[in-house]
Symmetry: C2
Subunit: 209 residues, 2 copies
Amino acid sequence: MLLTKTNVRSIILSMKKGEDTKQTILECALQLASQVGLESMTIGTLAAETGMSKSGLFAHFQSKEKLQIEIIEHAGHEFASQVVAPALKMPAGIPRVSALVENWIAWGANIKGGCIFVSASTEFSDRPGRVREALLRQQEAWIDSLRRIAQSAIQVGHFRKDIDCDQFAFELYSLLLGFHYYHKLLQDAETKKRQEISLKQLLDKYRQQ
Amino acid sequence: MLLTKTNVRSIILSMKKGEDTKQTILECALQLASQVGLESMTIGTLAAETGMSKSGLFAHFQSKEKLQIEIIEHAGHEFASQVVAPALKMPAGIPRVSALVENWIAWGANIKGGCIFVSASTEFSDRPGRVREALLRQQEAWIDSLRRIAQSAIQVGHFRKDIDCDQFAFELYSLLLGFHYYHKLLQDAETKKRQEISLKQLLDKYRQQ
């Protein structure tokens, strides 16, 4: 179900008093973009969906491209604080990898249309420009997080020293993408179980015996 | 780069005389939709991009929804004949799985914006209706092909008898999705190598020792 004016307003009203209005708008915009696609996110669409004035939104974002980039950057900030940062508080190694995966799944579940980076990546892979560049920066940062988490797992002796951390990042992200597709499109009831089996086997493959 | 009127016309002109016009239009529409998104594919867009008359296109498709469904069904037909059918001509087991993966990669490379099913899945996972249903049918057929190919690999003794063929399908599709994302958005030069390493290890995991 798409966000409606009523539930967008309830999100806005539920935000704590004094929180930055722009952040509130961006959070609504992120939820909408995850469902209708980033390319459909114009200042006009956002005004129509939220019931806010177009001129007020224009004062914040100036152009569709700037709105799209700010949605991506807002999502990147939220992703860092909801997915990566809490994982880094866990002990390095297997517990940290497991936390990262659970946080990623929870992050997608908290966005109406699922992880915005997955949908925006297919939307913008063939659209060169500043939006694609912003998206690429976020995805490179994510893959770098996966690589570093593998490196720290080597340091604490959970992963073997001879593993390729970039290969690990590729395999773990592939697994999460598979989870996303099965969960969102196929709505396969077994998806969580499949992801858990695959993750266990992936960790066993890299594990220090 | 997007398709232009000039190169769309050259595609049409290069089609063999007597080939069905509708199939020709659908092939152009598929290429465009893979780049701009299926949701942007209206009869008006297609007319503007191909230089064909809107009334002529309307006679073929009647509505945007019908056009979108016919693009998906055309893609499904092409996918079956380019990816699945040639793999089924290979000997069952590892050679058939390997052929399927190579055909899938070649299929994506032959479409300007990459595999339409990957992009359409993120676009339509939250849009209930006939387009999503058509897409789901195609994706279920694809996953069924992966499952059957694993079953035939058991029958010829390449895969162990105790494997879960649905789990194999999930893992192989995840790997292909990872390949798609790394290749299309990140444009990582190592992607093909990473996919080959992961595929080899995936096959080893299921292989009869």
